[in-house]
C-alpha cells in the first residue's frame, strides 16, 4: 500500500571509512503514532538519530517527509523542517538557568528601537507554564539547570522540543537514566504528545517501556535491521527475544536458573 508517511526512511546506510554503522535500515512514522527503535548498545541507534537530526548525512538511502525527499545539512535545517531531537545528554548547558536553556537558540525577542533584546518576562513565564503542563514545577526558572534532577531535566528537554512546534519528535533513550515513577511520567508525556498529533520516534533498549506506547517497532542489531513490525504483528516477548538475539537469552536464563538452584541447595 503506497501511503505517504509523515517521515519515511528507505534503505538508510552510513559508513565511517570501512566501518558499517548502519546498513539498509527502513522504517516510517505517521502523525499521531509512535515508532520505537530498539536495539542493544552498539546497534547503531546513535548514528540513526544523528542522521535524522541533521548532525551527519547518510551515505546511502533517502529520507522523505510527506513524500518529498529531504536532506538535513545541519541541526538548524532539521529543526526548521519540524524534526526535533531530545538527546541522551539532553543538550543542556548546566551553568545556565532553566529558562535560558529552554529557549536556547530560539529566544523570544522584543525590539527596543533598532535593537533586539530577549523578552525575558515572556520567556520565564512560558518556560514555567510549559513545564507546569508537563507536571514539573520548576521552583525558580532562574536556577541553573544543573541543579535539577535527571527526570526534571528530561522533561525540560521534551517540553522544549514540543513547544517549538516539532512535527516529529525523536527521543534518544529518555527513560534510561530514570527511576520507575519518573519513567512512567515520561511515557505518559510521550502518549500525550502522540495524542496531540505529533509523530514520535522513541529510541530505547528497554522493550518493557517500548511495547506499551509503540505502534511500530524497528529492531536494530549491529547496524542492520532485524525487522520493522506493526504492534499487531508482534508480542512483547517476541520483541525482547529478537532484541537480545533469541537463543542467547534462553541460554542465559538456563544458566541463571542453575546457579540460583545451586545456591539454594
Amino acid at each position: 500500500m503506497a501511503e505517504t508517511h509523515l517521515l519515511e526512511l528507505e534503505n538508510l546506510s552510513k559508513y565511517y571509512g570501512n566501518i558499517i554503522a548502519l546498513e539498509g535500515v527502513s522504517t516510517s512514522v505517521n502523525a499521531g503514532e509512535v515508532t520505537c527503535v530498539l536495539g542493544d548498545n552498539g546497534a547503531g541507534k546513535s548514528t540513526f538519530i544523528k542522521i535524522l537530526a541533521g548532525v551527519h548525512q547518510q551515505s546511502e538511502g533517502t529520507i522523505r517527509m510527506n513524500g518529498e525527499v529531504v536532506s538535513f545539512k545541519s541541526p538548524r535545517e532539521a529543526l526548521n523542517a519540524g524534526v526535533a531531537t531530545v538527546y541522551q545528554d539532553l543538550a543542556m548547558v548546566p551553568l545556565m538557568s532553566v529558562w535560558r536553556n529552554f529557549f536556547l537558540g530560539a529566544e523570544p525577542t522584543k525590539s527596543v528601537g533598532p535593537f533586539k533584546m530577549i523578552d525575558k518576562a515572556t520567556a520565564m513565564r512560558i518556560a514555567k507554564q510549559e513545564m507546569a503542563k508537563m507536571g514539573i514545577d520548576i521552583r525558580d526558572p532562574e536556577q541553573p539547570v544543573g541543579t535539577l534532577s535527571g527526570g526534571e531535566r528530561q522533561s525540560v528537554a521534551i517540553a522544549r522540543a514540543g513547544y517549538f512546534g516539532a512535527r516529529v519528535l525523536i527521543l534518544d533513550e529518555p527513560t534510561s537514566a530514570l527511576g520507575v515513577k519518573q519513567s512512567g511520567v515520561v511515557l505518559k508525556r510521550i502518549v500525550e504528545a502522540r495524542n496531540q498529533n505529533l509523530a514520535i520516534i522513541f529510541i530505547t533498549h528497554n522493550p518493557a517501556h517500548a511495547y506499551p506506547v509503540g505502534d511500530r517497532f524497528l529492531i536494530l542489531n549491529r547496524g542492520k535491521s532485524m525487522g520493522n513490525f506493526a504492534k499487531d504483528d508482534i508480542t512483547q516477548q517476541e520483541l525482547t527475544a529478537l532484541m537480545a538475539g533469541g537463543s542467547e537469552l534462553q541460554e542465559l536464563q538456563a544458566e541463571l536458573e542453575e546457579a540460583i538452584s545451586g545456591v539454594k541447595k
Binding site: R76, L79, K116
Partner: protein, 635 residues
C-alpha cells in the same frame, strides 16, 4: 484537584507570590549571590584601605589618576571577559592595542622621509577599524578551522603582530616608535573625541555644593527607604497617621543640614548632628508606620548568659581598642619590629580590637534575635552606642585630620543606621514571602538612589567653587577615556545580559556541543567574540595614539595577562560558561586603584607586584566562596 486547575495554580503561584516550597530568599540574599558582588566588595575595600593609609588617595587628582588607568585596562578587561565566558582566550589582545595604534599613526603620518601614508584621519579611522575586525575574524576562523586551543592560535597571532609592529616601524620610519603631528587632516575634529579633556579648575560653579549635598542626602534617603521597602511587609491599607511623622522627620533633616552649613563652631555642629539623628529616626519611623505592617508583640527584654557573654566581651574589646589608641604614642615612628612602626602597631591594634569587638556584639545581637525582638533592640542600641563612642575616641586621639572629620562622621552615621534599623525591626514585620512588585519597586528606587549619589560625587569632582579656587585647590584633568570606558562597559553588560548573543555566549562557553545541537551558531558566536576583543583593542589603540601622538613599537605587549587578571578578579572563571563583564570593569578598577594607591602611599613600588599578587589570590578565593554559596543556595 483536576490536572488543569493544578497547573493553573502553579502558574498563579509563580507569578504572584512564589512557590511555598521555596524558602524565601530576601532580595539582599539574592544580591549577595550575584557573581559581581566579590568585585564590588573588593573595590570598596581597596579604596577604603588606600584612603586610610595614604594622604591624598581620596582627592580628585588621585581619583582621576586611577580612573584614567582603569579606563584602558577596563575596556580590554570587559571585552576579554566576554571572550572568556565564551570559553576562549586571546593572547594577542595586548599586542593588538599597540598594533592598532601604530597602524593608524602610520596611515596618517606625513609622507616622504617620515614614512607615513599621509591619509586623512577621516579615512584612517574606518580603515584601522576594518583591520581590527579582520584580525578578530582571522583569530576566530583559525580557532574554528584548526580546532586547536585558542591559547595556541592567539599566541601565534601575538608573535606575528609583535614582529609586524617592530618591523614596520623600523622599515618605514627608521625608528622603534611612531609619531604624528597635529597637522593631519581632521585632527581638530577627532582629537576631542578620543583624547578630549575636562580641566576641573576651568569649570567654576558656585552653586555646586547645594546640588552635591542635596543629591547626596536625597539619594541616601531614597536608598534607606528602598531598603525598607524590600525588607518589610506592606500594609494592606496605608495608615495616614504615619505621614505627618514622616514629614516632621524630613523637615528636621533639612533644618539640621541647613544649620550645619550656615553655622560654625562645635556647639552648633553638635546641635545640628543631634537634630539630624533624631529626625532620621523619626522620619523612618513615620514612613514605616504609614507603609508597613506593625508587629503585635515584640516580647520582653531578657538578658540570658549566652547573650550577656559576647555582649560584655565585645564592649571590653572595643574599650581596649580605645585604650590602645590613647596609650600608644601615635607620633612615634620608630620601628619596633619589621614591618611595624609604633604608630603602625597602634593602628593595627585599634583596627583589630575594634573589629573583634564589633563581631562579638553582632554575635550577641543574633542570639538576642532568636529570643525576641525587644532584646535584640536593646543589644543593637548598645552596639550603636559603642560605635558612636568609638567614633569620639577616634576624634579625640587621631593625628590625621581626615580621620578626625571624615572617619568620625562615617562611624557616627553607621551607629545611627544601626540604631534606626533596630528600631524599625522591633516594630514592623519582616517579609517572609516573595512580593514581586515590592521588590521591583524597591530595586528601582535603590538604583535611583545610587545614581543620585554617584551624580553628587561626580559633580563634586567635576566642578570647583570660587572659594576652593581662591584657596589654591590642585588642578585635575579628566579625560574622555572614562566616558568611553563607562559606555563600552554598559553596552557589553547589556549585550551579555539581555540579548540572544549574550545567551549564546554563555552557552558556547558552558557546553559548546549542546549549544550546536539546539541550533546555536557556535562558530559564528565565537568568531564574533574575537571580533569584539579586536574592536576593543582598536578603541584602546585610538585612545593611546591620540593622547600621546606617538607610540612605541612595543606598546601593549604583555598586557594581555593584566586583562585576564582583571577579568578573573572581577569574577569570571577561566573555564568558561560563567562570569560577569561588569565584574571585569570593577576588577580593572581594583587593579588601577592598587597601582595608584601604592604610589600615593609612598610605598616602595618594587613591592607593588607582591601586592597585586595577594589581591589576585584573595579575589579568586572570595569569588570561589561566593559561587559555592550561590550554587548551594540554589540547590
Amino acid at each position: 484537584m483536576s490536572e488543569a486547575t493544578e497547573v493553573n495554580k502553579i502558574i498563579e503561584d509563580a507569578t504572584n507570590g512564589g512557590d511555598e516550597r521555596l524558602a524565601y530568599r530576601s532580595i539582599f540574599q539574592r544580591l549577595f549571590i550575584r557573581p559581581e558582588i566579590g568585585a564590588i566588595i573588593g573595590v570598596i575595600g581597596v579604596w577604603a584601605f588606600f584612603w586610610a593609609v595614604s594622604l591624598n588617595f581620596g582627592t580628585t587628582g588621585q581619583t582621576q589618576n586611577w580612573l584614567d588607568t582603569a579606563s584602558t585596562l577596563g575596556i580590554m578587561a570587559v571585552a576579554v571577559s566576554m571572550l572568556m565566558i565564551g570559553g576562549e582566550f586571546d593572547l594577542s589582545s595586548g599586542a593588538n592595542t599597540g598594533a592598532m595604534g601604530i597602524f593608524f599613526i602610520l596611515l596618517i603620518k606625513e609622507t616622504g622621509d617620515l614614512g607615513g601614508l599621509g591619509l586623512s584621519i577621516w579615512l584612517a579611522v574606518p580603515l584601522s577599524f576594518a583591520l581590527a575586525m579582520a584580525i578578530g575574524y582571522a583569530n576566530g576562523f583559525m580557532v574554528e578551522k584548526t580546532a586547536l586551543p585558542s591559547f595556541i592560535v592567539t599566541l601565534a597571532t601575538f608573535f606575528i603582530l609583535r614582529g609586524l609592529k617592530l618591523g614596520l616601524s623600523k622599515l618605514l620610519t627608521g625608528q622603534i616608535s611612531v609619531t604624528f603631528t597635529d597637522e593631519a587632516h581632521g585632527y581638530s575634529f577627532w582629537q576631542p573625541i578620543f583624547a578630549g579633556t575636562w580641566q576641573r579648575n576651568e569649570h567654576i560653579w558656585n552653586g555646586r555644593d547645594v546640588f552635591y549635598i542635596g543629591f547626596l542626602v536625597i539619594g541616601a534617603g531614597i536608598m534607606a527607604l528602598s531598603a525598607c521597602e524590600m525588607h518589610f511587609v506592606r500594609r494592606a491599607t496605608k495608615a495616614a497617621s504615619g505621614l505627618p511623622i514622616f514629614a516632621a522627620g524630613i523637615a528636621g533633616i533639612g533644618a539640621a543640614i541647613f544649620l550645619m552649613h550656615t553655622t560654625d563652631g562645635v556647639g552648633a555642629n553638635v546641635l545640628a548632628a543631634a537634630v539630624l539623628a533624631v529626625s532620621v529616626v523619626v522620619g523612618l519611623f513615620g514612613f514605616a508606620t504609614w507603609r508597613f505592617e506593625p508587629i503585635a508583640n515584640a516580647g520582653k527584654f531578657q538578658l540570658t548568659p549566652t547573650i550577656a557573654a559576647p555582649l560584655v566581651a565585645g564592649l571590653v574589646a572595643v574599650g581596649a581598642a580605645a585604650v590602645a589608641s590613647f596609650v600608644i604614642d601615635s607620633d612615634n615612628a620608630e620601628t619596633l619590629f619589621f614591618p611595624f612602626t609604633v604608630q603602625g602597631l597602634r593602628a593595627v591594634l585599634m583596627m583589630a580590637l575594634s573589629a573583634i569587638g564589633l563581631a562579638l556584639l553582632m554575635v550577641a545581637a543574633n542570639r538576642a534575635l532568636r529570643l525576641n525582638l525587644t532584646t535584640k533592640l536593646v543589644v543593637s542600641t548598645i552596639t550603636a552606642a559603642a560605635i558612636a563612642g568609638f567614633a569620639f575616641v577616634i576624634r579625640a586621639s587621631a593625628e590625621v585630620a581626615k580621620f578626625r572629620t571624615e572617619l568620625f562622621s562615617v562611624f557616627l552615621l553607621a551607629a545611627l543606621a544601626l540604631f534606626a534599623w533596630a528600631v524599625l525591626g522591633a516594630r514592623f514585620a519582616e517579609r517572609r514571602r516573595l512580593d514581586a512588585s515590592a521588590d521591583r519597586f524597591g530595586v528601582r528606587a535603590l538604583i535611583f538612589g545610587i545614581s543620585l549619589m554617584v551624580a553628587a560625587v561626580t559633580l563634586r569632582h567635576l566642578f570647583v567653587t570660587q572659594a576652593e579656587l581662591d584657596a589654591g585647590v590642585n588642578p585635575a584633568r579628566f579625560s574622555v577615556r572614562m566616558l568611553w570606558f563607562f559606555a563600552f562597559t554598559a553596552v557589553m553588560v547589556w549585550i551579555l545580559g539581555r540579548t540572544r548573543f549574550g545567551s549564546w555566549t554563555f552557552a558556547v562557553g558552558g557546553n559548546a556541543q549542546a549549544a550546536r545541537q539546539v541550533g546555536v551558531p557556535a562558530a559564528r558566536t565565537k568568531t564574533q567574540l574575537f571580533m569584539i576583543v579586536s574592536g576593543a583593542a582598536w578603541l584602546v589603540g585610538m585612545l593611546l595614539s591620540f593622547r600621546l601622538s606617538s607610540l612605541q613599537a612595543g606598546a601593549g605587549d604583555g598586557e594581555e595577562f593584566e586583562y585576564i587578571i582583571a577579568a578573573v578578579v572581577g569574577g569570571t572563571m577561566l573555564t568558561g560558561g560563567h562570569g560577569t563583564t561588569l565584574g571585569a570593569a570593577f576588577g580593572a578598577a581594583i587593579m588601577a586603584m592598587s597601582l595608584v594607591g601604592i604610589q600615593a602611599a609612598r610605598w616602595n613600588t618594587d613591592w607593588r607586584w607582591v601586592f597585586l599578587g595577594v589581591i589576585l589570590l584573595l579575589a579568586v578565593i572570595a569569588n570561589r566562596f561566593i559561587r559555592d554559596r550561590a550554587d548551594g543556595a540554589r540547590r
